[in-house]
């Protein structure tokens, strides 16, 4: 099948910062993204789990954006401005997509 080069950006970010991140992405022209729930994890600030939690303070989400390669830099800059002082992980990988007109 006909596919096109694109980038897959995965941002794991604190729950209370989710809306700020997605707003910043939208402002930077990235309108396509998908938010996945996260159960728990571990990092420099220790281990955590969403089990039984009510507060958003203990929780993260994973935001996935598939973008055209030329849009990656804008996206990363927008994400970085939000993330800067916050915990979170940003990774970018190459991918191929169907229906490139959508990105």
């Amino acid at each position: 099948m006909q596919t096109h080069r694109a980038k897959r950006v995965e941002i794991i970010i604190e729950l209370p910062m989710e809306r700020r991140l997605t707003d910043a992405l939208t402002a930077a022209g990235v309108t396509g993204f998908t938010v996945l729930p996260v159960l728990g994890g571990s990092g420099r600030s220790g281990r955590w789990s969403r089990e039984g939690q009510v507060s958003a303070a203990v929780g993260m989400v994973a935001v996935i954006c598939i973008v055209r390669p030329d849009k990656v830099d804008g996206l990363l800059e927008a994400a970085f401005r939000v993330l800067e002082k916050h915990i979170g992980v940003v990774s970018v990988s190459d991918c191929d997509v169907l229906r490139a007109e959508r990105f």
């Binding site: 604190e14 700020r20 220790g46 089990e51 039984g52 939690q53 009510v54 507060s55 303070a57 002082k85």
Partner: protein, 325 residues
Amino acid sequence: MQDLMASGMASLLSPMVLSFALGLVAALARSSLSFPDAVAKGMSLYLLFAIGFKGGVSVSTHGLEGTLIGSIIGGVLLSFIIPFVAYGLLRSITRLSALDAAAVAGHYGSISIVTFVTAISVLVSAGITSEGYMVAVAAAMEAPAILSALWLAARSGGAGQMDGELWREVLLNGSIVLLLGAFAIGTVTGEKGMADIESFIVSPFKGVLCLFLLDMGLVAGRGLRQARGLITAPLLLFAIAMPLIGAALALPIAMMLGLSVGGVTLFMVLAASASYIAVPAAMRVALPEANPTIYLTLALGLTFPFNLTLGIPLYLAAAQFAAGG
């Protein structure tokens, strides 16, 4: 004194406190017992709706005994002031950085709605009435302390921005809106509305509270296990002294407001309790560099159990003594 100890004992051996203890022990023993977060959220929505609604119905029948406005102003002032006291105490007896101290201080100025709910249950069991509008006071006391904390943090160079977006988030956070909304619905529909949904929000209330406290015990226990290394003697001292100080500050104000014994107790409980749901989330946004493990451990792992077990009976006893019981 005899009475006091007996009622304290009774409260310690209530299904509520024991459920919390069960959760705490299970988590410390690393049992796999856990609640899905959706279930925990569902229970908290139920508790907020029920307590708000009941407060509203009580206002609709008894009217605004005492001064609603006065109590709200008193509560808001306390919420502003307590963080400064907490900050001073933390900086003098612990080694927390200015930023961490400011963040912790904000939690103690705000309130723990579950401590409040448990205190109401204790009052109901003891046959003591209280002003229905205290739930509005509780809602009003959630946010002001955040401002004090940010001011304290900014003064010490710790930045801490309170932008418009954060304002909106804090003032319209889910628990404030649900509490006040249910309160308004209760006020409007009154006894008739209560008759409609009584067997949902009154009868099973304590049972749901038990399960919710069990879950909180699990969460608190897991947190304590993670934070073992962090709890120093001065921090422990703070976690127990600060609710007592908060309650002591609240008592004269409550007396001046002319609240009933139940109302005085609840006012003290609000001052004494520390937030671990709404404020931590706001602090993650506004003061990301403050260490969340510290404030969550203090508020949920130490002060909450203290209030649940010893605090509430103590505040009730003080209120009975002061307001004449």
